[in-house]
């Protein structure tokens, strides 16, 4: 069994075996990050371009560190979401990037489908680092890696995802990944943030009451409320959101006693998650960040098609 994908556009195209390979590879890379010399020569001579057309700190940093620890040359470009504003089309940008012969383009873009678009127009590998409200595959994979570390297996887990599902690419990728690996997903959020047909994406149940969604869950994942994006049409106030959809020590008690709390970040403390929970003993939020580097190392390694894995220098 081997990883056959040239591009990582989403989890939707991945099989259970694909996900298994990525998680196993990430596990084996994780150790490198705790070495004194955090670098292996695996991708020496490869060029990776991190093209971030939408603002990102964590994901960009994580991909950049992942590339550097594999000895690839990583270059970052960033720009406005709208290529039209810059006067250049995404196709022209793609062709210009390609003319410089990169091996992998990691793309973050505000428009759903932009990585798909890019992959049809360039010869190198394309890795989706988040596109619009579509997918964020590396986030879902690091989420699963973290769950596996803490729970031993994904199969049979009850995972509650709470927040703005409509605009969440993390939710979509997590639904695909968790369903393929045998977990059950419970979604919860305001009626204005629950899209039509979301239950068709996988083994999903939709809840309107956070207490019911959390009850007996193994994992509680809180999504960021994008305050900069919200209008009064979707939410009356953040105070009301925190009251009905926020995670706090009281409602967290409804989950299994050993449940873990996750958040893709950046957190709005006091809105979707109280500080007591964010800093509490059940949170694994920084484990997610740590695993993000190993997951992205695995993705870069697997799409680059390097034959033998060299983790020793």
């Amino acid at each position: 069994m081997s990883f056959q994908h040239k591009h990582v556009l989403g989890i939707e195209q991945m099989t259970k075996e694909d996900i298994q390979i990525i998680l196993d590879t990430a596990d084996s890379f994780k150790e490198i990050n705790s070495r004194e010399i955090k670098k292996v020569p695996t991708l020496r001579g490869k060029t990776i371009i991190n093209a971030f057309f939408e603002a990102s700190t964590r994901t960009r940093l994580s991909f950049e560190i992942a590339g550097k620890r594999l000895s690839a040359d990583t270059v970052n470009i960033s720009g406005s979401t709208s290529s039209v504003v810059k006067g250049e089309t995404l196709e022209d940008t793609a062709k210009n990037i390609e003319a410089m012969a990169p091996d992998i383009i990691v793309i973050r873009h505000g428009h759903s489908g932009a990585p798909h678009y890019l992959s049809e127009r360039v010869g190198c590998s394309v890795v989706n680092a988040g596109d619009g409200a579509h997918e964020h595959p590396s986030q879902a994979l690091l989420d699963l890696m973290t769950m596996r570390e803490h729970k031993g297996s994904i199969d049979g887990l009850e995972v509650a995802i709470v927040g703005d599902i409509t605009h969440s690419r993390v939710a979509r990728s997590d639904i695909y990944a968790l369903t393929r690996m045998g977990a059950k997903v419970r979604l919860c959020g305001p009626g204005t943030m629950m899209p039509i047909g979301i239950e068709l994406l996988g083994n999903v149940e939709v809840f309107t009451d956070i207490r019911e969604a959390i009850e007996g869950a193994d994992v509680v994942m809180m999504l960021r409320i994008q305050m900069e994006r919200q209008s009064n049409i979707l939410l009356p106030s953040l105070r009301e959101y925190a009251r009905f959809y926020g995670l706090n020590p009281t409602n967290l008690k409804l989950a299994k006693p050993d449940a873990i709390v996750m958040h893709p970040g950046p957190m709005n403390r006091g809105v979707e998650i109280s500080s007591a929970v964010a800093d509490g003993g059940q949170n694994v939020i920084l484990d997610q960040v740590e695993n993000g580097v190993a997951t992205r190392m695995a993705l870069l390694y697997l799409v680059s098609g390097v034959e033998s894995m060299q983790t020793n220098d």
């Binding site: 939707e12 709208s82 290529s83 039209v84 089309t89 995404l90 196709e91 873009h109 428009h111 759903s112 489908g113 932009a114 798909h116 678009y117 596109d131 619009g132 409200a133 579509h134 997918e135 409509t166 690419r169 979509r172 899209p195 039509i196 047909g197 979301i198 068709l200 994406l201």
Partner: protein
């Protein structure tokens, strides 16, 4: 002008309730005779045995892009596309640059069509000046130039009071109001039909209510004012039903549907296909079935293409920022004939939806085939199989979701005012 004798075809003209195998003689741009065994002396003979002879097809919803947007289409290329598809008359929408809201632009279109056009062109003027939705276009003067309908197609007249006044004002001039029924507040920044597919693709959805609520408003205003309302590009189950019920109440309302709305669903958007992006968007399978039901039960009066040419640069971009619309003139006929194949309607009904139906909706003096009428004719081979090659379309623009599709049926000869305008 040469005489033409079309021999031995099955002549179908729904307006005349004509459906028989016979000859059609054309002389001096008019239909001179229809009958069996007509004398072919001095006439160019076209053998139509095994083919269908119909009035030239009529498309009442076309964007010719001229003046102002000639890089997408112009009157010459758009009308060439029309005759290639069997159409001999097109009604063109006013969202040109400048907008067709005055006699100068209307005259420009009519003159250019007379000089360079391959078929008849009927300009539709705007309802409001500059399509701004603020004040009424001078409809009376435009009527004098031959305009028979007004529309702000591409955008709705959002202000209901203004729409009411437009209907009241248009009615005594005999003008039909063509409504682009859409509630922009409900559309918000949606880019495709709202449903499971938009959820999966992470694209912002457009709810069907945005069309239905606007259609309901237009029908109520037409009922209140007594104006002639024509609802453009109906795409939802609810809107079809609203029109159906209105007709039962005796409201003066007609409607059209586009071939893409009875052929495709929002599934076609998968892969972020920008040639499946249009307004109204491709809807659900349930909506598509309802549109077909509306065609079948007579709720729908016309098939109209909403031929919307766009340059490749306007489609070869991310889905969110791609322009809305597709070209339709050269694929409408086989897609409509597919309805016959599928048992939705019979062949004469399909021809009616492409000729007398649209002509009546906009009160156009075409769509007839009888002795003395203008010799606008389509000779159709309903069995001809061909494959769509977008690059070979006569239209300047190639934005079709049907590229590579196998089609059955095509116009093999299109005659406009007694002259052969297209021959396959």
């Amino acid at each position: 002008m040469a005489k033409i004798l079309i021999k031995g075809g099955r002549v179908i003209s729904p307006a005349q309730k004509l459906d028989k195998t016979c000859d059609v003689l054309i002389e001096k741009g008019k239909i001179a005779a229809i009958g069996k065994g007509l004398d072919d002396k001095g006439a160019k003979v076209i053998d139509a045995a095994g083919k269908i002879v119909t009035p030239g097809l009529v498309d009442i919803h076309v964007h010719l892009r001229d003046p102002g947007l000639e890089y997408k289409e112009d009157i010459a290329s758009g009308t060439l596309s029309a005759v290639t598809g069997g159409f001999t008359s097109v009604a063109c929408m006013p969202n040109t640059q400048p907008v067709n809201d005055n006699q100068t632009v209307t005259s420009y279109i009519l003159n250019k069509a007379a000089q360079e056009g391959h078929c008849r062109v009927f300009p539709i003027a705007s309802i409001t000046k500059g399509l701004k939705g603020e004040s009424l276009t001078g409809m009376g003067e435009l009527k004098e130039l031959g305009v028979t309908a007004v529309s702000d197609d591409g955008k709705p007249v959002s202000n209901p009071q203004l729409m009411r006044r437009a209907m009241e004002y248009a009615k005594p001039f005999g003008l039909t109001i063509v409504s682009h029924a859409e509630d922009l507040d409900l559309v918000d920044s949606g880019v495709m039909n709202e449903g499971p597919v938009s959820t999966e693709l992470g694209l912002k959805g457009i709810t069907w209510v945005s069309e239905d609520s606007a259609t309901a408003r237009e029908v109520m205003l037409a009922e209140c004012t007594g104006a002639n309302l024509h609802v453009a590009h109906v795409s939802t189950k609810g809107s079809i039903d609203i029109v159906r019920q209105a007709k039962k109440r005796g409201v003066s309302v007609t409607c059209e549907v586009a071939p893409h709305h009875f052929t495709l669903t929002d599934e076609a958007v998968r892969g972020y296909k920008t040639n499946a992006k249009m307004n109204p968007p491709l809807r659900s399978a349930e909506d598509m079935e309802a549109v077909r039901q509306g065609i079948s039960d007579g709720t729908v009066d016309a098939i109209a293409t909403d031929h919307a040419p766009h340059h490749i640069d306007e489609k070869n971009v991310e889905f969110n920022i791609a322009m809305n619309g597709i070209v339709g003139l050269e694929t409408a006929l086989p897609l409509s004939l597919q309805l016959v194949e599928d048992g939705v309607i019979d062949l004469p009904k399909a021809i009616a939806l492409l000729t007398s139906g649209p002509a009546a909706a906009l009160n156009l003096p075409v769509g007839q085939l009888e002795e003395g009428s203008d010799a606008d004719i389509a000779i159709i081979d309903t069995e001809l199989e061909w494959t769509v090659d977008a690059q070979k379309l006569a239209s300047k623009s190639k934005n079709t979701p049907f590229d590579g599709w196998k089609m059955k049926g095509a116009a093999v000869c299109t005659i406009v005012a007694g002259k052969i305008a297209y021959q396959r």
